[in-house]
Symmetry: C2
Subunit: 492 residues, 2 copies
């Protein structure tokens, strides 16, 4: 196992080495598509389980819609189509045939050309709203609260494992409502669900806010988002919830008979988070020794490593370790007892540190005599001796502490990397030296935002939800009267 | 709600009406692709959960591989490529652009043609084995025991909801082993897992056996299968487990250093079941009144319908119903208390019968006085009065009974529809009048099998695993000495 490149030397290299060396994911032979390896997928499964539970608790059901969107449906909602047309995979044929000139090779069969091209879904509004049309006649058919777990494809030119891949896994909620208020409530409710999940389970503090028109989802009237800050001072959009207004209902002619007897267009929302969140998880907590995983999402929460010189010691330790394992399992804590004799304890210590296992328990013969074990915390790298008696409870408590600690650490980092600026010199200085979020007044003009982006690559990540007194405030760049107080940052 | 076409009038029509009227699935606007609606997807989720648990208990981990297979990888294993080339969706471009001649319309951008076409995976051996190549150097890297939950696409010309769709959901296991024996053990083990799942959870009896070369998976050395019999006397392949030998290892040059120091090709298996199983579930148990679901997979296992004339009655019943609901939930039984006043109890009875809810509890004021409820079983349509005291236990027991009963019923049906024949006249007579499985001797010649298929549409479903004395037995069609005793049937 090679040592990781330190973060302060080359953050991007550190990230790639970490993802591949820990067995989370790797690039595939398909341009821009990744293989999510078992350890990475196990984290995704834990995320899915929790999110799915939260979606169901808020009244949603899962369903599945086709992978393909016929071109004519895709182009129906103009802005959505425009936003995704430039980066979509297009199926044009439905058969390969033998290449007579190259035996053993296949070519596209020109006779199997589709009458209408199919777009591999970059997002499913079009296919879903063309389906909802048949499901909705009256207000009694509303609301429709559906979520889908699926793969989507966006032909990104510059890709990075988890953060930006041509194919990625996500969930996409698509809801239909009888009125604007209800759709808005849903949009906000799902943003809250995302914020709760990301903070409480992933241990990543987020800022809730609204996207500017420039950063809005193609086809949405408003996009709400949660924004997180990575350790290199760049922001990452961790989830979005879109108020779609009646755009898709109008595009697909979805009307319903209201209680009052009128025929109205349906109101819509959509919301999603993806495997990109795994990238955020890595970049928020991990260090130069490897992954740091929040206990609530760690595939292995506790590893027990025995240290022995002979079979007698081995058996005595195994007995204690297995008893402890069973106690932990009964508490719903996932534990691995690694009694593989082919590798040394030191190698195992490194391996589980790299893999971010929150707690490591080492047990040697001396420990048994003293009725204790050695416990190492992955987050602080602290070691301590803990009594065997009541150890399962100690571990349970320690896991909670770790979960809380990594969240607080990330929150402190964000606080230390959020700067108020009042002029462009300060703005550029922060971007270059301190990095992080920049809180500043904005005149509400896309032009201002675009000029700043062109000069600095920083964009408005969101307009946070908090109430702000704008009296007498001016845009730090244009000098125009301020309309919002916003957060700028360079972003993934 | 229209009445269903009876099975004996038009089985195929009955099936389509049932699937759509119960809200399981519907056809989409994409040729051959279906929308799996919430009720259908809820069944699939229960199936997934149980299968996933069984895969993990047998040592497998989940991972995720790309949706696309570059054409050059696809064609690497010749038989596999040949088997799927004729029905695969091909991505040739990665961008659409505005059609200058038709404002608002999009066309494929000829400048965004891929250098190499991408096949949408019809199955993932090719992409996975091209990945395993980098994961396997020595025997220490083996076995690899991986499963993937994914969508796949096969461009079928004649499609039917669940049974045969262009896109379907499935799981595909792909394992790599150091020797033949281990790979064979895995192939058989996973067939056993499928058989156990389909029989114990879906309540569908299956025959385990081997496919003939004609029916083998493209690229496999042997295909094992479980075969089920539907109510119309047609067979359905419910799951397959393939021994792939070293075919894919050779195609992708995957070798490993053995313990003995030799460099050998890796041995492989793959195995899968799909949303097709939902079709089997429907066709095995359901009747002219609608779905009949096995309790272990029913999204709603018990529905409680209150019957009242005034608010006082309503409140008294609700109190009892909610207490019962809580007791059932604590036992892990999913229950719905349907107290919607907008529809009449009779309508609800029909609705839940159609949807196959295993147990229906009706509670009226008179019942409360008598300390009882009315219970209706979906499988037998029997009604009984059951004491309120200990009702949760009664229900638990009744659900087990239903699970057992529908399995036994299907087993009896199969026994009554399995016929031994010794000549071709009998064979044709059974196919036309009695239908079902036909047990007969086969000479082992593909030609014989093909001739019979051409004349009757019946195929060899499998060579069952049982020991058979072939002494003096002859093929019923060719008169040649028998090599196997097999099961013929018309099949889905």
């Amino acid at each position: 196992m090679a040592k990781l490149t330190p973060r302060n030397e080359d953050y991007s290299k550190w990230y790639n080495e970490l993802v591949t060396q820990t067995g989370l994911a790797e690039n595939s032979k398909v341009r821009g598509c990744m293989v999510i390896k078992p350890y990475g997928y196990a984290i995704w499964e834990k995320m899915q389980q929790q999110l799915d539970k939260m979606f169901k608790e808020t009244g949603h059901q899962n369903a599945y819609f086709p992978l393909f969107v016929p071109k004519s449906l895709f182009e129906a909602e103009e802005k959505n189509a425009e936003g995704f047309a430039k980066e979509c995979a297009v199926v044009t044929h439905y058969r390969l045939k033998n290449d007579v000139e190259n035996p053993g090779k296949l070519i596209v069969d020109p006779e199997a050309k589709l009458e209408e091209e199919l777009v591999v879904r970059p997002t499913s509004e079009a296919i879903i709203w063309s389906t909802y049309k048949n499901w909705i006649q009256s207000y009694r058919d509303l609301p429709i609260l559906i979520n889908q777990w699926a793969n989507v494809v966006r032909w990104e030119m510059r890709t990075r494992l988890f953060l930006r891949t041509a194919e990625f896994l996500w969930q996409e909620g698509h809801t239909a409502h009888a009125n604007k208020e209800e759709a808005w409530d849903e949009t906000k409710k799902m943003l809250d669900v995302y914020a709760e999940f990301v903070e409480e389970f992933m241990g990543i503090p987020v800022i809730k806010g609204t996207k500017t028109p420039n950063e809005r989802f193609a086809g949405a009237e408003e996009t709400l988002c949660i924004e997180a800050l990575m350790q290199d001072g760049k922001a990452l959009q961790a989830g979005t919830s879109h108020f779609l207004g009646q755009n898709f209902a109008k595009a697909f002619d979805v009307k319903f008979a209201s209680k009052e007897g009128t025929l109205d267009y349906v109101w819509a929302t959509s919301w999603g988070v993806s495997t990109r969140l795994i990238g955020a998880l890595i970049m928020t907590h991990s260090d130069d020794n490897g992954l740091v995983l929040p206990p609530k999402l760690a595939p292995i929460q506790v590893v027990i490593v025995p240290i022995h010189r002979n079979d007698e010691q081995k058996n005595a330790i195994a007995e204690v370790a297995l008893k402890l394992s069973n106690e932990l399992k009964q508490k719903g804590i996932s534990v691995k007892f690694d009694d593989d004799d082919n590798v040394k304890p030191g190698w195992k210590f490194n391996e589980y540190e790299l893999k971010g296992v929150p707690l490591r328990i080492a047990i040697g013969p001396r420990d048994l005599e003293n009725g204790q074990v050695e416990m190492a915390r992955r987050d602080t790298l602290e070691k301590s001796f803990e009594k065997l008696e009541g150890l399962a409870e100690t571990i349970e408590q320690k896991l909670d502490e770790i979960q809380e600690n990594i969240f607080n650490k990330a929150k402190d980092f964000r606080a230390n990397h959020t700067t108020e600026v009042s002029n462009f010199e300060e703005f550029k200085d922060v971007l270059e030296n301190k990095t992080g979020f920049i809180s500043a007044y904005w005149d509400g003009e896309s032009e201002t935002e675009e000029k700043i982006k062109a000069e600095t690559k920083a964009t408005i990540r969101c307009i946070p939800f908090s109430e702000v007194d704008l009296e007498g405030k001016v845009d730090f760049y244009s000098g125009n009267p301020a309309k919002f107080k916003v957060l700028y940052a360079k972003a993934y």
